[in-house]
Amino acid sequence: MKTWDRDRLRALDQAGVPNTWPEIERRATVAAGSNQAVLFQGDATSSRRRITAMVVALALGGASLLLVFTVFGGLNDGTPASPPGIFFPTLKEPANGYPAALAVGTLTNRNGCIVLQQGTTELLLIWPYGTTLQQDQTGALRVWRSDGSLIAKVGDYVNIGGGAVGEAGRELHFVEQLIGKSVPSRCWVGAGGYFMTSGDATEPLVGS
């Protein structure tokens, strides 16, 4: 019986590789917001450096103010970083633990609400504190943990940890307490309910 020759894969060396660095810088600027734009000002003059430092100082000052308001519950709207028009609820403060159930479905943007679609029912997901939703230039939406690691992309079929929240008939009220803001009526869910997720998601791979 012949053995496997890994050199067969060397044919991949034929593939031309595009220079994606400019695109990476552009995407990173979008992802990080205006306070990170200074990352890519290569040969700045001293004047530009001063302006940049001012911008950074202003951004840091703004971030500090936001942090103060967040700590005291003043400005926390549960959507720390989500594209305009999309409701992406997160816990208003870090949680000590999460329910250990599992929900399976397709992460879906339904009318500006990120839900887990399970056939004809859907769950509105409540994400951990610090989770963000970001949109790239192709319109793709990705959910990121606060440490910068990817949870999932909207459209993915995922298994996600967590559990339903709230007692029957009082779910919405409970959810609004958890996230510190109102849930827009377009995002109210019926039979599915509200699911507080730990953000631990796995996605079955194609063909597996």
Partner: protein
């Protein structure tokens, strides 16, 4: 207030560190992603998005290189899954990739094995990633990596040899 901390130079240092990783490994990562996905678009998008997110979230990342591999493959896997659903499993068949031989031949053979087998084979036999890292990228146990690798190699060898005989 903090004269020793220059935000611009700190930011530039971080960017330089990521750019060094990019220069060191982007060709290998792109080609490995291409072997896995069979698509230039998916490979390029996954690579660009992973590095962009690394730049945007650098403070929380201990090992940029490992993080980028994991993130890029996770993005590519999700995109493959999305496309497969959209076209009901007819991924790329309507528009077959136009690569030159023997690359085209290899990519078609790779697309004939399962995604996990394909990922294990390209990460191990092309990218030379350590087994522990492959297990982390794939989100499975190290022992399971060996199973996918063994089955993938076996199937791939069979497919490539059969097609070589057809050509001969």
């Amino acid at each position: 207030l903090y004269p020793e901390r220059d935000p611009e130079s700190m930011a530039k240092t971080s960017t330089d560190a990521v750019q060094r990783v990019y220069l060191e490994m982007h060709e290998r990562l792109y080609r490995t992603l291409l072997g896995y996905s069979g698509s230039r678009a998916i490979a390029g998008d996954a690579l660009a998005e992973a590095f962009a997110q690394a730049l945007a979230h650098l403070e929380g990342i201990r090992d940029v290189q490992a993080w980028v591999w994991r993130t890029a493959f996770r993005i590519a896997a999700g995109e493959l899954q999305r496309r497969a659903k959209e076209v009901h499993g007819e991924l790329d068949r309507a528009q077959p990739p136009t690569f030159t031989e023997p690359l085209d031949h290899l990519l078609r053979a790779l697309q004939s094995i399962s995604a996990k087998q394909r990922m294990a084979v390209v990460l191990h036999d092309y990218a030379d990633l350590p087994n522990d890292e492959i297990a982390r990228v794939m989100g499975i146990a190290r022992a399971t990596v060996y199973v996918h690798l063994s089955q993938g190699r076996k199937r791939l060898r069979s497919i490539l040899e059969d097609s070589n005989e057809d050509l001969g």
